[in-house]
């Protein structure tokens, strides 16, 4: 029983990390209707930047989080403005996917060129220590991720509900043409949305770098899980992504222990396929899974 509870705790903490990565993905997914295959590579870039900042400047990764959020926001804005926006009215709806696939491949291999295939562990004091609650242990770094996950999702939720810009973003997602008729500059909305999605990844990178070493393909690992989370939670749904992230965190932690460590991903992907086939709208989706 104690093992089970510990596994649940681990799963929920991991879910917090998935939540931060997934909310950005689900925003881009739900609002721009774009599957960003390069999302994981943005995380990877953020992790290398964290490593650089920590090792070269001697700063704690958590201190690097605010500037990383800013840097990734700018990178996101640039990608949307100069790569994806020109493709907005393309004849074939797939070309935006091609562009993000190309970007993803280019970034992975750029990292391989610059850093090689080695793993880069980011040193950070205190992050790997743990606090004990009776018989249970929680890694401080994971607790921080979990708390940040809740804060990010709550903040984004308030932003979307309470501000003019947030409402305009939701309106654009629900009816693009009608939003234009209200006076919303849809292209600007898309740029801001992609920026926010990338900024979330900036935060995630700073938090995850001290726990998982950076490598060229680290993004692929996380983003595939994030896709599962997004589809499970329902694309475009913030609280869906949060609950989905916690669920997938639990599945990850429990199946690794009870089935086999190297088969936990099989369980997650099998689950993913089942969701796609039988409930493509996810748990909280708005019904756009397979039109």
């Amino acid at each position: 029983m104690e093992t089970f509870v510990q596994l649940v705790i681990n799963g929920l903490m991991l879910g917090g990390l998935f939540a931060i990565i997934s909310v950005g993905l689900t925003l881009i997914f739900g609002i721009i209707r774009l599957v960003n295959f390069a999302h994981g590579e943005l995380l990877m870039v953020g992790m290398y930047l964290t490593w650089l900042g920590t090792v070269k400047l001697g700063l704690h990764p958590y201190v690097l989080a605010p500037p990383l959020v800013l840097v990734l926001f700018v990178i996101g804005v640039l990608i949307q403005r100069f790569i994806l926006q020109p493709l907005l009215d393309a004849r074939d709806a797939h070309v935006q996917i091609f562009a993000t696939v190309g970007l993803s491949t280019a970034l992975i291999n750029l990292a391989l060129l610059v850093f090689g295939a080695d793993l880069y562990a980011t040193p950070a004091s205190g992050v790997r220590e743990s606090i004990t609650l009776g018989p249970f242990r929680i890694l401080i770094g994971q607790l921080v991720m979990f708390v940040c996950g809740i804060v990010v999702v709550a903040a984004l939720h308030l932003f979307m509900e309470r501000t003019y810009l947030g409402r305009a973003i939701r309106a654009t997602a629900q009816h693009r043409a009608a939003a234009q008729l209200m006076g919303v500059d849809v292209k600007r909305i898309y740029i801001v949305t992609f920026g926010i999605g990338a900024a979330c990844v900036g935060l995630a990178a700073a938090l995850v770098a001290p726990i998982y070493p950076a490598s060229p393909t680290v993004g692929t690992y996380f983003v595939l899980t994030a896709f599962v989370v997004v589809v499970l939670g329902g694309m475009g749904s913030l609280h869906g992504a949060f609950i989905g992230a916690l669920l997938i965190g639990l599945v990850d932690s429990l199946s690794a222990f009870y089935i086999a460590p190297d088969l936990k991903e099989v369980v997650i992907f099998a689950l993913f396929i089942l969701i796609l086939l039988f409930r493509p709208t996810g748990l909280f989706g708005l019904g756009r899974g397979s039109e």
């Binding site: 790569i83 797939h94 696939v101 491949t105 280019a106 090689g116 099998a270 493509p280």
Partner: protein, 605 residues
Amino acid sequence: MSDRALPTRRAQHRPSPGMLASLALLPLLFVVPLLIGDDFVFHVFITICLYGALATAWNIVGGFAGQLSLGHAIFYGIGAYTAGLLVPLGISPWLGMLGGAALSAMVGVAIGLPCFRLRGPFFALATIAFLQVIRLLALHFTGLTGGAVGLMVPLQTGWEWMIFFERWPSLLIAFGLLALTLGVTAWLRHARFGYYLVATCEREPAAAAAGVDTLRVRLQAVALSAALTSMVGTFHGMYLTFIEPEAMFSLAFSVQIAMFALIGGIGTVMGPLIGTLLVVPLTELARGWLGASALGLHGFVYGTVLVLIVLFVPDGLVGLFRRAPAAGGAEERGETAGSAAPASVPAAPREAGRRRIGEPILVAEHLHKHFGGLAVTQDVSLTLRQGEVLGIIGPNGAGKTTLFNQLSGFLAPASGTVRVRVEGEGFIRPATPHAFARAGVGRTFQIVQPFAAMTVLENIMIGAFHNHPGRAAAREKALETAHAMGLWAQQDMEARSLTIGGLKRLEIARVMAMEPRILLLDEVMAGLNQTDVQRAIRLVEAIRDSGVSVIAIEHVMQAIMALSDRVVVLNSGRVIAEGRPQEVVRDPVVIEAYLGEDFVHAHSA
């Protein structure tokens, strides 16, 4: 007549300059390494042939069928493993190649069957998920696959074992595989199957209405593509003499194959090979400049080139060559060409006497349908008789189109039946759009559904293939139909450049080329001016006189009054009146629900 046929013949055999050039250059892939004789050159050319073959095979699903697969390494890996596991048992990899191809085709169908209803990115994500599952399982079951350690293929040389001391036999096999995939694609591009595939990819509903079993066509495509990919995988495994799950079921490799095709231009025969030919030597050159050990250089070049191509040459490299003919086609257009062509109607009725309305040919009974809580069809029954025109009118939102969708298999009624009489078989109950088409039911769509990238003639051919599987015969039938529908002058135009009137005629032409016995017309008069309405009325009359029974949804009352033998009035999903047109328009219920007092005042004024 001969001067008319001339432009079409030119259009029919119109291989692009790019295609001609690449056909001429193709043998060079085999000859150049033989002349140079350098081992490294051999290796590069073998790689080009294999990657080109993989990209070409991928293109059958990713290009022609329009399903973005990022999991094609599944089939590549299956091919390699099937042969690799059989060789130690003393079974030749040639047999393994066939076995692997068969297994891959089956796996492809098994994955495609549930996944083909997913669109675009979701399909891509599903294929990635399948690939990951298979890769992880392959890593897990070390007993079978060697796990992360991998498997060495026993070094038995000779043709029987597909492993050679010299380089040229490997090149010959690689080149042969490339030629095979190109040949299959070239055949496909010009066969009914290829037309069906492109039509399905572009507008599935319209393809289904033209009698295409869209799921089956897609599954055949994936089976073909998987089998070819698998064959290349078998040979590549033998060539490398080492197979491991990480390399054989690699996501990066899957993406790379797709990228070659995307860079070259998907949905074309030569595009994928051209893409491969551009980037593979490019990376080899770049490697020369930057030093041989530049890890990741390949992928960086591929990814960057893909982004640039997508931004600046959206149709891929092949698109560079194809611009010119499209522009030429647009020039031929113009109002004069459009209006000069007479809307001559199909052959005059054989007997000029009074039409005979015969036995019931389509019977719908007690149809019910609801979306969510909203009942859109409530207990609707109607009967169409042989040789009759049945008009359906009613306000917007009355459920007319929903009813049509049930009469043509696009929607299954929640309860109730639709029966169609087929000669020699009596009444049958078709369930799918193509089954309805096979039973002789053709339909048009309220919002026109042209295959925009095809020419007008090719659009009509999609319908004509229904009864004429051969390309030549289908073309003949399509030309005949184009002439009858007043689309002769526009036959080589891309469908997207037609006017609304032209698109409406094309919609009818495509369905008429199927030679239906029952025709469902959904608001074909909408948006036409008076002259065009008159023309359309004459057209429908001629269709009726040629023996086709017609159900027409229409708002243009003038046409309904002129054409209909009987009229059914729908309101809020129910039949509220039925009868001869003159009776129906005087029915107080109809006036209140649809025509309005204004209509009556206007008539009495």
